[in-house]
Each structure stands twice: as C-alpha cells, then as structure tokens.
Amino acid sequence: MNDTTQTPESPENPTPIAMVRGLAFTALPKDLYIPPDAMEVFLEAFEGPLDLLLYLIRKQNIDILNIPIAEVTRQYMDYVELMKTVSLELAAEYLVMAAILAEIKSRMLLPRPENIEGTEEDPRAELIRRLQEYERFKKAADELDQMPRHGRDTFAATISTNDMVFEKPQPSVSLQELMLALSDVLRRTELNASHQIQLEPMNIRERMTNILSALQQQEFVTFSSLFTPEEGRLGVVVTFLAMLELLKDHVIEFVQSVAFGPIHLKAVITTG
C-alpha cells in the first residue's frame, strides 16, 4: 500500500472541481480521459469496499442505520464500472461487496420471511454492523495517528555522562541467540519464495572476507600469495572459489600487466 492520505474527491462532488476561464466546473466532462495512474491514486485513497461505501454514505449525509440500499448500490456500481473502464485490476473485494449489495437489494424487494423467534430480520443488518464496526476502527486509527508519538511529537532526553568514569558494560550475545535470530530470518524467507537464501559452506565466505582484508592493506596482492599449500587441495579450491565469487560480484578484479606475468588481485573500488 502507499502513503496516500489525501481525501477522496469524487467526480460527482457538488463543489467546483476546477475553474476554467472564470467558470466553475462541478462535474467532469463525460469524455474526459482519466489516466489509469490517476485513477489508481484516487482508488488508493480508499482502504477497500467498506471504506468506499462509508464514503458514499457520508457524502450524502445518510444515517448509517437507514441506508437507502438501492441508491447506494447504484453509486457503488458506478464506481466499480469506472474502475473497469480504466481497465484496472479489480480487487476481488470490491466485487464481493457489489454482490452483497445486490443480494440485500433483492431481499428487500421480497416479502421478509419470519425467522425462528418470530421477529423480522432486516437484510441490511449484517452490512450495517460491518460498516459500523469498520468505521469505529477507522476512527480509532485516526485518533491513534493524532496521539503524540515518539520521534515525531516528542523526544526522549538523553544527556552526556562525559566527565564520569565508569564502564558501561556492552550487551553480551550468545551463539544460541544469534542462531535463533537467523532461523527466524530463514523461516520468514521460506514463506516468501522470491528470495530463497542458502547457506553455503562457511569456509568460502570466510575466505572471501580474508581476501578482501588483504586487499585493504595492499592495493595489489599476488594471486599465488593467497594460497596456502599446507591446506591441501581442498584449501586451494576453496580460495579459488572465493576469488571467483568476488569477481562475479564485481568486488575484485584480476590484473596481469605483462603476458604470462604474475597475476594480481585488486579491489575494484578502493576507498577507506
């Protein structure tokens, strides 16, 4: 979602929408092309079908307990139609609401059946309950937003202890805590299939860091000096893989000044 908070203005709003050569325009010309982007912004001002419905009801000063279903349904359908004409992906929720409205409308036309207790049930009751329920939280959200917040309206005091000599102990972290944090991340990313993260054998990662550290102390490092024969073949392979990984990530480059001369590694960017 985005942070649009402008109040929704409908094309049917009786207040002038524009002044052209001294003339007030209260309605959009029928043939006016609404760019899809603008329509999206307009629709995003609503938080969903309930919000749109509430807006329609409020706009006409209708008592929420006495909604003229036919009229509201007609307006609602106009909006849904408008969304269609600009070929917007219609959110399913808007269509569900349209169906609910249509159902209520049809039930209002029919004689009401008696239910078990013998009292009549107004077909609008459930919708009204939902609208009210939504509205109160909409209001609560507004109020929450008005409340003084840290970092926006109020700031906590923290002053210096400069001249005092005492050691503030640093938080200590156990390996277990670190692992739990990581498993949290992994669990979350599993749900989010777009970025899978794999954990490679750590020795390659470590080697990458070591190579970069060497390149921070020295601008050019000879290729061969990064291999330690004592580590055996596995060590050589790991180091080489680490180099390739860094090369692929655009972090280092290989430099050879003369043909068949020694190969050097160099950081692509050297700052700090």
Partner: protein, 220 residues
Amino acid sequence: MNNVTPELLVQICEAALMVAGRTLTIAVLQKLFDETDQPEAQQIRAALSTIQEKYQDSGIELREVASGFQFQAKVALSPWLSRLWEERAPRYSRSFLETLALIAYRQPITRAEIEEIRGVSASSHHFKTLMEREWIRIIGYRDVPGKPALYGTTKNFLDHFNLKSLDQLPTLSELKDLACQEAKLQVQLELTSQETEMPAENTETITESTQELEAATSND
C-alpha cells in the same frame, strides 16, 4: 536514607533519568543506593513529583509511560526540535494505522479477523514493519485449523505512544443497534420479544485483554 537528603535524592533521580537513555522504574531508582541508604518507593515517588513540578515551565517534562519514567521534550516544541534530525519521522498510511488500531483494541486477534473487519486482505508488509518496530508480537496461536497466530501489542507500542497502559487508549465509538432503532420507528408494531437478534457483540472487551496482556508482559 540516613545520608541522603531529600534534595540529594531529587538530584540523583533527575540526573539518572537524564543519562540513562531508557525509561527507569522506581525499583531501578531505588537500586542506585546502597542497601543501608535505600529510599522507600514512596520517597522516590515524592522525589519524582517534586521533579515534575520543578519542570512545569521547562521545555521538557517527566512522564510515566508503560515501562517507567522518562524525561521528554514537550509536544508543543516538536516543530523546532524535529529540525535537529535530517530524517523525518515516518508517516503511516491509513491501512497501516487501521491494522495497528485493530490489534491494539481487539488483541489477541488473528490476521484473518483483521481482514474481515477491514474488508480487505491485510498487507504482509504492515505486519513485518509492526513486528520489526516491536510494536506487536505473536502472543499465542488459536486452536483452530491452521493454528493462526494471535497478535497483541507490546510495551514498546505503549511507550511509543506515550501510554501507561492499554486502557489509556481513546475509547471506541459505540455500535448503534439497528434493531432498536427499528423498534423506535415502528412503535405501532407491537413486537412480543425485544430480545434482539443483533449479536450481543460485547462492545468493550479491552479491559479484559489488557489485564491478560499486562500479566503476559510484566514478567521481566
């Protein structure tokens, strides 16, 4: 308290609250003193209210929030103070705030319940941000198929909004009962039973869950 005069006690509490960089409880303030000198909670309270009075006309004030006491700049000064930082405080979208409001007022609540009330599917991003800020957390799972997580707010949330407890939240507006309204309008229709079928939705369940929540969060 033999060696600590009331004036010194006030000074120590004042300085401690200023340098701590976190909220302090009365218990923490007591522990700043040797056991032999340790002031009573009541004496600390008295010192704190002396401080509160002393700062009446200052740019800052001593406030009590969920996790303890804290010095804060006065809200009215925020237009000037916010210029101290380049980054603006984030603005939250309405959908974000609605989600937060529902969790705050209706906790423990599942994501599906939030979606049902709002009439739209909930943004995962909002939940992530709320969890990241440690304003909400999972406080349990409902024992129904799928074991959906139940969300509740944290002390951080209360602190951030300068609240001591959940019941300081503005009260929710009341639901008007359609059936009652109908009955008033149609007086001539004598209905036998006024036991309306509008679900006896308990409009205020906050107090209950507040207690539960405090029980859950206060064990540190």
